[in-house]
């Protein structure tokens, strides 16, 4: 690891000399442009693109991050990732590298889950692939068995009313394949996972099985966060693979009496200390004005979270590396933040916004990357008056060579939401999402599912936008 980092930051000398390097000995590529100098910006954008695409730097950073293993919030591996991230930023010569404390919840999956279908027409039982949903309570130690009842919506659940009592509710509304945008399809089905347990418990269900949120039909269950309600009992909640869901659905159509056995010994544990990790390139003119780039360091526990969200962290840090390597001197500070605990509701984002370190800082814009390491397609930006959208429209000639051809109103994310609530303008790189949910929150979200070149294009896109924002403001 050291060798790689040293090689990459070598042109600027030792890490501690970063500030001095940026001020005194930065190469000329784009370092001296005046505000709104089109030729200098063109040279800067080109330098970022060429440096980035010649290497697979972001992928190398991702390799390091995923080498820790799964990084579930509050786990020992998440703690190791925090320390590794600090070291990586230090070794790359980033300035003001630090960890800011975050108190996070903990949840432990325990032993591998067991689930089986028992149907009256079957001689034996059929194992099905499930995983506990994040935050779920476990079953009794010996597991539980109950008849399954299938619904596609909460309306259907309500119509069943009392008949749900004592049953396992099986939510089986698939993501709508016909929507071209997979995030829209996800958004249209995720309520079953997030609120399914609480809604079913309200009617006396003993557990819920939720069809995994993916467009593929395979044997991998996809986990994710759930919420319970204070006024109804907590019941166990598990995701069922799509192949398992289709199987259960088929059996329930043939014979109504289908029993499911489920055993999970997951549990919630007390709070634990953790941290957000950050490093930066200090602004030469206005160091108190921040352009934030970041992702979340925590992942689910079923895989190494390569797309979600190792990719966002790697692309953000690589963006800073490319800006430095290109000898650019941003006027405003560009800060990379690896947030902790996006997956369980965004604790890290809230701690970041409220931390004492924010005093005297003004976060102008924030680019959160949390949609995987896929091909960049465009830019979305927020802000009350849409002024930034107009500015970015003017920058499109610098962004189009990267494949960023669409521009829309929007942007944001869980980790930067508290900042956005206080006036920071959110900016997002729009990515190809066609295969994101194939791996999302499942055992498939591993390094080999990331294409190094597409990830690098994301990093170059983040670098280019962050640099322009640092020079011109949002």
């Amino acid at each position: 690891m050291k060798a790689f980092l040293a090689r990459r930051s070598g042109m600027h000398g030792p890490a501690v000399a970063l500030c001095a390097c940026l001020c005194l000995c930065a190469p000329a590529a784009g370092g001296g442009e005046r505000a709104s100098d089109p030729a200098a910006y063109k040279a800067a954008a080109e330098s970022l693109r060429v440096s980035g695409l010649r290497s697979e730097g972001a992928f190398e950073l991702l390799r390091m991050i995923t080498s820790v293993g799964p990084r579930l919030t509050g786990s020992a591996q998440a703690a190791a990732a925090v320390e590794l991230a600090r070291q990586m930023m230090d070794d790359m010569g980033m300035a003001n590298v630090r960890m800011e404390p975050v108190t996070v919840g903990r949840w432990d999956r325990g032993a591998p889950e067991e689930a089986r279908i028992v149907a009256s027409g079957l001689r034996g039982t059929i194992p099905i692939a499930v995983c506990a949903l994040g935050g779920s309570i476990g079953t009794p130690e010996m597991g539980l068995s109950a008849p399954a009842v299938e619904v596609k919506s909460f309306e259907e659940l309500d119509r069943l009313g009392d008949r749900v009592k004592g049953k396992i509710v099986f939510y089986n509304r698939p993501m709508d394949r016909s929507l071209a945008d997979p995030f829209a399809a996800y958004g249209g089905a995720a309520d079953q996972r997030v609120r399914g347990a609480a809604e079913a418990a309200r009617l006396g269900a003993v557990a819920v099985l939720v069809r995994s949120l993916t467009l593929r039909v395979d044997d991998h269950p996809h986990t994710g966060f759930i919420t319970y309600r204070a006024d109804v009992p907590e019941i166990p909640a598990a995701a069922l693979s799509t192949a398992g869901a289709d199987l259960l659905d088929g059996l329930l159509r043939r014979e109504p009496a289908v029993t499911v056995f489920l055993r999970m010994n997951c549990r919630r544990l007390g709070p634990a200390p953790s941290a957000n990790v950050m490093g930066e390139i200090p602004g030469s003119d206005r160091p108190g004005e921040i352009i934030l780039v970041g992702g979340h360091l925590d992942s689910w526990d079923l895989a190494t979270g390569a797309h979600d969200d190792g990719a966002g962290c790697a692309a953000s840090l690589e963006a800073l590396r490319l800006i430095r390597e290109s000898g650019l001197r941003p006027k405003r500070t560009i800060r990379a933040v690896f947030f902790m605990d996006e997956e369980f509701g965004g604790t890290g984002g809230r701690f970041y916004a409220d931390a004492p370190g924010r005093k005297g800082e003004h976060h102008l814009a924030a680019i959160e990357s949390d949609r995987g390491g896929f091909l960049p397609l465009g830019v979305a930006a927020g802000g009350a008056d849409g002024a930034l959208l107009g500015k970015i429209r003017g920058w499109m000639p610098l962004l189009e060579p990267l494949g960023l051809t669409t521009l829309s109103r929007g942007g944001g994310g869980v980790d930067i939401a508290p900042l956005v609530g206080r006036g920071t303008v959110p900016v997002s790189i729009l990515l190809n999402a066609q295969t994101y949910f194939d791996v999302h929150h499942s055992a498939l979200d591993v390094l080999s599912s990331v294409n190094p070149r597409e990830l690098e294009l994301l990093a170059v896109s983040v670098a280019t936008l962050a640099y322009l924002l640092a020079q011109e403001g949002p």
Copy 2:
């Protein structure tokens, strides 16, 4: 296979009744719109998108095509693919399904190639992964050994002059990673493969090794077509994997005396009969005016040619299926053509343009899909006056929901080039090409490298554009 096809074409009844079905009993989705009726076009586009994305129809067609195995021009498998394609089109109820004869060359790879590096500093030898380039002659039966000499360009080769005599020329100019467009990077390096043998033979070289044309560094050699010159001897030409090229380059830097052993028993054989395969939806108003959609059925012999170009064939045929299933009645004929022999220079395209069947037909526009089955990003269109570009600009609200957001002048391909030379307007769907060359012409170009949903988006894009062209003309 039958079951799948029957199910898919079931709504229109038996295959032979296609014409009648289209005229008499087509459902109403978009069947009755007037020219330039925006609401009807919107409904038609939506119907194509929803039908397409709900299924993985193009992938199922691709599964059938690749089930034949590699489909090298002139091979028994290519002949089997021709027959399968005819059956597929028949079973799907396409009209005027037929094969048109093409006389193709044949080339046979023979036994697996052998290649080894022998360097004076090595105790033994190092095997390297090579494959004969398409059309190459073989080595002597026992192989040949000669010192290797590395060049990055023909200029460098010319400077070496006589020193090349009796040597194996090793072309090692990589694709330029810093170019965001991989096709541009490919175009900048492919001369080594295409002309390398002829240029080296001119100076007395005994064979050439060419660095594989891919952005990845791995052990897979990538083949492709070469051209010899009539005025210089033919010498054996092989592609070397990028990992092998880096290894050989490293050895040559350390010690100039590096010998390579190469044995290949590939050979050219006499011409063979083959065919283009086609089927269509006849135009309701102007059946003699054709909108062609197509790809090439032949592939290289190292894999099943899933991206190159099973995907183009599958997407083209799926486009016709979707148009039929949506009950649309194109005014002009939409024809799917599976061309034979793109890889060895486009024989099929030339035979198609010259075939007796073209009499009385007027090919208005042609959409050739030969850049894999990747995410569609935009449209390119040609034509002398750019009139079609303006028209397509007006159609963008129908295309943008598919992710087709860019529009540029261009389009075309090897198979439709003869038609374009006679006035047919070329149209291309622009695709994400970042990973195309990872698999292109190598053993990696197999079904599992294709994403069903991205391929389906290509099919829906072809269907939508072809339908609009059939209604409005180019």
